[in-house]
């Protein structure tokens, strides 16, 4: 019976090796994906060491989209928009696109209302994060999860 055991081990080793070998190409196929750590780095690049609080910001985005190439998104921030208390900028990030940034939008007290709208691309079902910088340099954030059935960015062009 020792013979059989060793064969089984060999087989398992082989199977394990194949699984590892199989996993490597999968990993290298998607090196450009913005992982949560690149998302964090991108956010840190904007906010620095400041603490990001949750609240005040609202993301309006469909929870389920068929086409990730054009996803309507509105970001609004609760703020009186006065000279002394207003939103300076709104930054939008994503979790899984090849790049973590989506857009930076700079406004001020003269905007009257802290709200912007645009259309974005999403390469996968993922989280979208919006961060607002206030006039007192505090940061507020909100996030929204979006399920995408047809991904953007990755299709071939013929």
């Amino acid at each position: 019976m020792p013979k059989l055991t060793s064969t089984r081990r060999d087989l398992l080793k082989l199977a394990g090796g194949a699984a590892v070998a199989g996993a490597v190409p999968i990993l290298t196929l998607r090196p450009l994906e913005a992982t949560p750590s690149t998302l964090n780095t991108a956010i840190r690049n904007v906010v620095g060491e400041a603490q990001v609080q949750t609240g005040k910001v609202k993301i309006d985005i469909p929870p389920l989209v068929e086409n990730g190439n054009t996803v309507p998104m509105t970001v609004s921030v609760t703020s009186p928009m006065t000279e002394t208390d207003h939103v300076k900028s709104i930054h939008v990030f994503n979790e899984k696109n090849p790049l973590p940034n989506i857009g930076n939008f700079y406004i001020g007290a003269y905007a009257g209302r802290a709200q912007i709208a645009t259309r974005i691309r999403l390469a996968d079902s993922q989280k979208v994060v919006a961060i607002a910088r206030m006039s007192d340099d505090s940061f507020w954030s909100a996030s929204a999860d979006v399920i995408v059935t047809l991904a953007a960015c990755t299709e071939e062009v013929y």
């Binding site: 450009l32 190439n69 054009t70 996803v71 994503n94 696109n97 090849p98 790049l99 940034n101 989506i102 857009g103 930076n104 939008f105 700079y106 406004i107 001020g108 003269y110 905007a111 009257g112 209302r113 802290a114 709200q115 912007i116 709208a117 645009t118 259309r119 974005i120 691309r121 999403l122 960015c153 990755t154 299709e155 071939e156 062009v157 013929y158």
Partner: protein
Amino acid sequence: MASTLINVPPKAKRGDIIEIKTLTSHIMETGFRRTAAGDLIPRNIITSFTCRYNGNEIFRADFFPAISANPYVSFFTIAKESGKFEFEWTGDNGFSATASASITVA
């Protein structure tokens, strides 16, 4: 010259908050797509958009490849005085487009 579409209310009362909507024709090539032959298509996007109201900057945006083709942006401002809104888009490969719109504030 890229074609642009601007929506600014032609008239407003002083102090009104008005919405400005802008649309530009641009492919916004991400730089991550490949041809069937496997060649990477170089990035070609609009990187910056600015709006000035009688010379003062009231809105600016940095775009990344995650902004959809034919970028649409809407934002708000307070109608302070009659005058002109000037819009400017700049991007890769020396792309530049401008547009303007007038408003009468009573």
